[in-house]
Each structure stands twice: as C-alpha cells, then as structure tokens.
Symmetry: D2
Subunit: 319 residues, 4 copies
C-alpha cells in the first residue's frame, strides 16, 4: 500500500481532526503518501484532493470540526457520481481510503467496492448511534458540552425553584441524553428507546415538589419528543412554568475532550494498520477498551446494547 | 446605622453572590449587623430573614445564582403585602436594605418608602437593560456565555458551510446580542432598538455566499423576533437550511467573570457606604468606570445611550 | 445492614462528591440510614459524624472537592487512634463503611478489621495510581484539566516558536502525563515508568527544529524529574530558552467530567450493594468497562498494566 | 493612504488576532491594501510580508495567540537592521504601519521615524503594564484565566484546609494579581507597587486560622517575590505546608474574552482611521471607556494610576 487518502463525511464531530492527524502521521510512519479529500464524497467526485504531510496536521489535534470539511452528497449515490469517484481514486492512485463518519458514510464506503481502493471506516458522530461500537468519536465531548449547559442551568434553576427542559440530539439513540442526564443529576430522562409518557414525568415532578425539591431538570432526546410540546403539557397540567433550552449545533462544537482525542488517535493508527494488512470494507470499533475491526455489513446490522445500567442508576439516584 | 439587610429579586444573574458577599463584609467592616432575606420580597413578607456573618459568605464569590434565592412576588405590590414587609423590617430593626435586581426590584424598593428603612439598589441583570448605568452585574458573564456558544457553533458551521441563528435574551435591550455578536464576529445582528428586516439579513446572506463566505452567524435578540420564524423565511427565500439554537436559561448561569465579580464587589461596598451616609431611595450605577449613586426615580427614567459605535463596528468588520 | 457511613480520605479528587451522593442515595433506596464522616479518619476518631439524607446531597454532583472534607491522619495508625475509631463506629451503630480515597485510605480501612464494621473502598485519586483498576475517580477530570493548560500554552508557543515544559502530578504513575501528553500532542513525555534521559529529549528537540517544527511541548510527570532541572539543561545544551509551568493543585480541582461522575455514581451504588451482600475488606474497581469487587489485599498488590500502547502511539504521532 | 501593514511584536496576548482582523477589515472598508508582516520587526527586516484580504482574517477573532507570530529582535535596534526595515517598507510602498504590542514594540515603532511610513501602536499585553491606557488587549482574558485557576484551587483547598500561593505574571505592574486576587477572593495580594512583607502575610494567615478560616489563597505577582521563597518562609514560621502553583505561559493563552475582542476590534478600527487622518507616532489607548490617540512619547512616560481602590476593596472584603 503506497498511497492512502482520508475524508470526513456526514455530520462533523469533535475529534475528527485528531483522527485525521493520526491517519496522516501513521501513514508517514509507514512510508506511505497520504491525501486529504475535501468535503467528503462530494469533494472526492470533484477531485478536491491534496497531499498532506506530517506538518499539515501539526496544530489540529485540539480543534473541533474537521479541517477537511464535510458535506452530504446525494449525487454520490448515483452511478454517475460513483464513476466520477472511481476515476478520481484511480487518477491519484489511491490504494486505501479512510472514511471518518457515521452509518451513511460507511454505506458510501461500501459503494466504492470494485473501485480497487480498500476502505476502512472510523466512527465519528456525537450521537453514539452506531450500535457495533461502545463509543464513537465526539460522543464524550458532546456529553460534556451538554453537561456544562446543565451546570449553568442548575445555577439559575436552584435560585428560582423551577423546572427546565433541555432538548439534546439523538434521533434514534438516547445515549447523549442518558449519559448527560445521569452525570448532570437530571430528575427525568426521556429517550426514544425507553419512552416514558409525559404523565410519568409530570407525576415525578409533582412528587419531587411534595418532598421539597427545589428544581427539576428534564433531559429530552429529540427523537423522543419536542421540548415545546412537553413544556405546554406541563403548564396545562401543573399550572407551572417550565423553561426550554434547545442546544442545537452547540453540541457538535467545542474542543475535543482527552477521551475523544485518544480514541481518535488510536483508531486513526489502527485504520492505517488495517489497510496495510490488506483489510477492506471494514470499520474500526471499540469494545470494552479494546479496538477491533469488523466488516461494514456486520457493523451496520449490530443491535444496540441499550442503557439499562445507566437508566437504573438514574432511577435510584435521582430521587 | 446598626442593622442592614440584603435581598436579591427578579431574574438572578451571575455576580449576585459576589455582591451579597461585598455587602455583608462591608457591613461587618463598619461594625453593622447584617441579615440575608430569602427569596426577595416574598421572603421579606414572610420574615424569612437570617443573620449573616463574614464566614456565611466565605465561599460564594465564584458561584453563579444567588444563595439568597429570588422570586417574583405580585402580592408584595398589594397594600397587605407591603404592610407585612414593613412589619418584618421593624421586627428585625432593619435600618437599611440593599436590593440587588432589575427595574422591577427597584420599583419594589420604592414602595418601601415610609417604612423607616433606607433602601439602596444594585443593578443585577444579565440583559444590561437598565439605561442609567453602563453595565449591570451579570452582563459580562452572559456575553461570554453566549460567546462560548458562538465559538462552538463556528467549529461545526465552518465544517459545514451553513447558516446559524442564535437567539439570545433581551426583550427591550439588544446589548447582549450586540456585544456577543461583535465579539463573536456574527455577520448579522438583529436587535429591538434597530430593527433590520429579514430581507436585509437574507440579502447580506446572499452577498456573503457570492463572495465565498463559508458560514453566516445571525445573532437575534428575542425582543426583535423569533428564531424559528426567521429560519422558515430563510428556507423559503433561499432554499437553504438554517440552524437554530435557543440558549434559554443557560445565559443566566455560569461562574461570574472577573469583571462581574469586581463590579459586584465595588457596588456592594458602595451601597453600604451610601446607607451609612444617610442615602435612601437610590441606586448604584457605573459611568465610564466610576461608581455613582442617583435616585431610583432618575435612574428608572434614564434613556438608553444606544449601541451606535458597536453596530457601526459590526457593519465594518463583518464584511 | 441498617446503618452505613461514608468518608473521603487522602488527596481529594473531582467526582468524590458524585460518589458520596451515590452512596447516600443508594442507601436511602435500600432503606438504610447513612452517615457522613467529616475529614476522613481524623473525623472518625473525633466522632465528627452526621446523618445525611437524599437532599443533603441534592446539589453536589457537579462540584469538585469533597463536602465531607479530607485529612491525613497519622494518629489513626496508632492503637489509641484505632480504638477511638472503633468506639465511634459502635456508638453510631455503623454496620458498613464506604471509604473513598487512594491506597493509604484503603490501608486505613484494613485497620478497621475486627471493629465489626464492614468496609468497602472506592478508588478516588487524580493520579490513577491504583494498578488494580483501569480508572480512578478524578483521573479523567485531571487529564482534561492538564489538556486545557496545554491548549492555552499552544496558543502562545506557536506564536513564539518556543519550548515549554509542563510538570504534572504523578509520583509513581505517569498516567496523567501520558494521557494528557498524547491527547495534547506533546512531543515528549517523561514518566517514572519509562525514564528517557534528558539527552533523548534534547535530541528530539533538535530534530524537530531541524524539520521546522514551531514549538515543542514536554510533558513531565513529577516522579520523573523536576521541570526546573530540565529547563536548565536545555538552556545549557541548546542555548535556547524553555518555559516552565507547574500546574500544582489546579490538577485536583475543577468540575468533574461526565466520565468521572458516571464512574463515581456507578461505584457508589455498587459499594452499597456489596455491603448489603455481606462483602467486607474489598474495593470496587473497573476492568474494561465492567465494575468488580476484590479484596483490598489483592488490589494493593496488583501490578500496573503499563502504558505501552499509548507510549507507542505518542512516538508514532508526535513526529 | 493606500497601503498599510500590520505586525505583532513582543509577548503575544489573547485578542491580538481580533485586532489584526479589525485592522485588515477596516483597511478594506476604506479601500486600502493591507499587508501582514510575520514575526514582528524580525520579519519586517527580512521582508516576510504578505497581502491580507477580508477573508484571510475570516476565522481568527476567537483565537488566542497571533496568526502573524511574534519575535524579539535585538538586531532591529541596530542601524543595519533599521535600514533593512526602511528598505522593506519602501519596497512594498507601505504608507502606514500598525504595531500591536507593548512598550518595547512602541519603541520599535519610534525608530521607524524618518522612514516615510506613519506608525500607530495598539496596546497588546496581558500584564496591563502600559500606564497611559486603562486596559491593554489580553488583560481581561489573562485575569479570567488566573481566576479559573483560583476556582480550581478553591475546590481542593477548602477540602483540605490549606494555604496556596499562586504566582502570576507582572514584573513591574501588579494589575493581574490585584484584579484576579480581588475577583478570586484571595486573602493576600502581593504586588511590586505595594510591597507587603512576608511577615504581614503570615500574620494575616495566623489571624485567619484563629478565626476558623478554612483556606488562604495568596496571589503573588512575580515582580514582588518568588513563590518558593514565600513557601519556605511560611513553613519555617508556621510549621504548616503551603502549596505553590506557577501558572507560567498558560496566562498568555486561551480564547480571548468578549471584552478583549471588543477592545481589540475598536482599537483596530481606530488605528486605521488615525492613519487615514494623517496621524503618526501615536498609540491608541482607552480612558474610562473612550478611545483616544496620543504620542508614543507621552504614552511611554505616563504614570500609573495605581490600584488603591481595588487594594482597599481587597482589605475590606477578604477578612
């Protein structure tokens, strides 16, 4: 393997730059040439491809976002788009490609089968919504970002004795709400996997008030409902105001935490080593602290391990 | 003056604790007794009043919120409520009262005229919506909190080349949007005092895209419109997605900045010294770095100095 | 088991409060009474012991330090001290005791054998110097605290093209230096377990400069040498200035990260459940994501797993 | 005025990038060409000069350090160096030069008299050691950086009931120690302008302990002594341990605060407008919120206004 390339695709996540750095420097270490592809598969089709060296990635490990930018590319899924991508890969004699992103990005990598370029995926998404791996790059940072917001809201809600709803990302996967909710001491956590009715939430709210609790924080994953609907229902049923915070894209930003940088660094090196070993159509994952590689197909059909332990912890500790 | 009390009222703001500490320790320095009244005028009516000592406030200077809590109290504006407050002030022989809050809190202080208790107000609100003073306690912290959010959004919006709308507090006063907008390099700033039409914003957005700008941050004060309305209009007119973040009560939280702690400390000492000097019905303010005291009436009728310099700066620098 | 107590001992670490909260609320959940012992074994001997309820720990999950305070207590190791402790435990009818701390604290727990009180240890130390467990409470926060310092130093050192030495905690265990060094992209990492000579460091420094590197960050664990000695040697051998930062007790502070709060919460619940199950003289640990309990003796004689993977990663990525 | 240039010189400070951005975009607004000179006067002599456009500075307002880098340049003070600088200024037809830095940088600007290039200085230094201006760019950020360290140390020192010495920058000017000390609630503040003897400090320490104070934070400006000497003296005279933190170059880093970005933005615009108005050999300053320009000579001989108000505040509030 002489020439490899790296791209980031889909939603960006903090730590993607640390992964890019690791891919580039590992390639340099193994005497390969390495290219950076701009704006994901979109840039691949357009040949937006540049050489990267060890110093191109000299000051990026601590930066959020991705220096390679990212884009969604519907056209890449057409035959024409795919052919353009094949052409560009051949033109730059790229033997191996590292794709950093989520499930859509991995599906993109699968369509490159037959191009003669080996592909390895690295999981980068703040949602932690890839069931095959314990953690994705960016998740730990996003949890801590949400947690900072909870801490700020605590200051004012304990001054005011109020209820606050915090809506966080997570369409299918409530991990962000669960981790940040347990770590933030939220009294209620509402996630897609474990739908509680709004009645349950309001019931707990009433109980807490009866016991003299001063504030009540509800962590809501966007996939499990809308903060403004819940807010309305609380007003109607309890007659009391509830406040809403929608964190939005703040959750994608921020300097990556140590954990995310280490995970990204380890996965970047492993991806390059897998390419050297002849692996293709695989993704890197982490299982109880150990890296592994498995086929994209297997990875995309994995079932979620769920959050029973943390949800139980929450119900015991948030009395 | 032998006995003074301090209360916080209205929306809490970071730095209120530093002001409480300063009031308490200044009182101790001048050999007065000092009481803390819980939950603003509500607690005053209920006699929720406790002695504070130098060590009661020993570890609060860095904490957001207010250890005295705060509440809104419609009943305080009734004659019955006022009489209860008078009774409590007499019962504890409180000669002077320091009220930390916004315009509503100062109006509350005015209704205590005739109680025999002298009153001094300290401006504490994150909105900076008290025109008589250059700055209020909590404003600098809130600006920096919004700024952190902008920085996080920058990470991801420059990776994605997208438009983001950030809705911040400010019903009548756009200072928070202006300061954070200029400091954050926002391309558009929309405030109640200087209403630009959404068309202007969209026009600027188009221009920027034409010139190759990668992202566009719109800072919107809540008093000047709703983020979701603006979002819809952008989609309709440009066909492009815009993202929304509603910071909500995060803006009230956080450890106070150095500026807010210093302002609060200075104002707390000054308030006590004004009480000692026999002043009443006055508020403390800051004018170009210098503290002053003026009557509540004068303060509440002051006109805003406006934000021309910063708005001009924004229009020049956010090309 | 009816009555349990909890204490923190040795150096404090961020997340101890989250562990205390978890112990208290788990005990409440299992219908036990729970006591907090102030200032570790010192307070135990003096009977500085108070009832804690679910609301005593209502607003502490996000706070650094320990609400129970901590102290070193040489007298506790004498027979007289131990007898006093026995007396206090009997007097309060404490059936089980949770000790949060490091190896010294666990040895303290061992001396309580024969008191009739079962003991369970929870690992709380920022150094991660307890070999039997993958992680200790406070370590993730400390790594991120050091990392923030590295990020700040990067700003200025890349403006200045200079060498910086950052001295971090770690007498016998270099984990803090290794994790923060790899995550911060430090060019050299010097730890007790893997002593490189200063010559090696200076050699790498020269190489980097020859290749045009703009700055060089050296992460030094205190157990592997002194920053000021290294600084002097660099000046002597290269003629160039190197700057020193000694982080000191900053490393013990800060709001705990999500990871530390989750680890602390999980361990707190587990400790209470172990006491209920009749376990004593054990400590809780974590092995690849799973909690476990093992005897204090076994734990204290465990051998470190070392840092080979991360040190190799560092040598590949910090070219 | 057609062509202007900008350079940063001396120690970097957070907000320099915001000032560079403001200079560049203001120049663009006034239809000038603008050049960035790398590494201060060193780069000027070497002709390390590049065109900057509005988009060159598109994503730097929030970044610490300086994209133009900075250097000390003894050779620039020689005739030969100065002549090289003159030559480069002529070669690029630079009519006006904005110098961002401290007193040394302003003296450098003075030596360019006779070159035909007008010069304007902008004060950028974290020490706030330029007496002619109330604030310098970077000072507010540095104060808040020190404050964060104090907050972290508070966590652990209140758990431990210990004394901590924090050594901060400031050779001749104690502003950083004073502002951060008052805002952080430090019990003792030692600065060059107002030398207290170590005995005074130790006396206050004893008093505090007698009154039951749990911890004692000493803020020491480097110009007023060494933390390790003070530490030793405390041990000798009180028999108790004191802990030392030397913040070092952390103080130069960090994202600039809102205040520093606004100050930098305003000063950058003003500098360009002064050049357009034909001013030279002047510096921009701020006096009670208002910008002004005055001659470098006058500025460099200004006398410090001192810190009486804050030092008095400290002595009253840190009982």
């Amino acid at each position: 393997m002489k020439n490899i390339a790296v791209l980031t695709s889909g939603g960006d996540s903090p730590g993607m730059n640390a992964a890019i750095r690791a891919v580039v420097r590992s390639a340099v270490y193994y005497n390969m040439q390495v290219y950076g592809i701009q704006r994901g598969y979109e840039g691949l089709m357009h040949g937006d491809i540049k050489r990267l060296t060890a110093s191109s990635v000299g000051d990026i490990i601590h930066k959020g976002g991705t220096i390679l930018k990212t884009a969604r590319s519907p056209r890449f899924m057409t035959e024409e788009g795919r052919n353009q991508a094949f052409y560009q890969l051949r033109r730059h004699q790229i033997d191996g490609l590292v794709v950093i992103g989520g499930d859509g990005s991995f599906r993109g990598a699968q369509t490159l089968q037959g191009s003669g370029t080996a592909t390895i995926g690295i999981p980068g998404t703040i949602d932690n919504d890839l069931a095959y791996t314990d953690y994705t790059i960016g998740f730990d940072t996003a949890v801590n970002t949400v947690l900072e917001a909870v801490t700020k809201i605590r200051d004012t809600s304990s001054s005011h004795e109020k209820t606050t709803i915090i809506e966080v990302m997570g369409r299918n996967c409530g991990d962000l709400a669960v981790y940040a909710g347990v770590a933030g001491g939220a009294e209620s956590i509402i996630i897609p996997e474990n739908p509680v009715t709004y009645e349950d939430v309001i019931h707990k709210l009433d109980e807490g008030r009866a016991r003299g609790r001063e504030h009540h924080i509800i962590m809501l994953a966007e996939g499990a409902g809308s903060a403004s609907n819940l807010q309305q229902q609380i007003v109607e049923e309890t007659g009391e105001e509830a406040r809403v915070t929608v964190l939005g894209f703040i959750q994608r930003g921020g300097d990556p935490t140590a954990s995310d940088r280490l995970l990204a660094s380890r996965m970047g090196l492993r991806a390059v080593e897998e390419l050297r070993a002849g692996t293709s159509d695989h993704v890197i994952g982490i299982d109880r602290g150990e890296l592994f590689a498995e086929s994209i197909n297997t990875a995309l059909t994995a079932e979620s391990k769920g959050n029973e332990e943390l949800m139980r912890l929450s119900s015991i500790l948030s009395v």
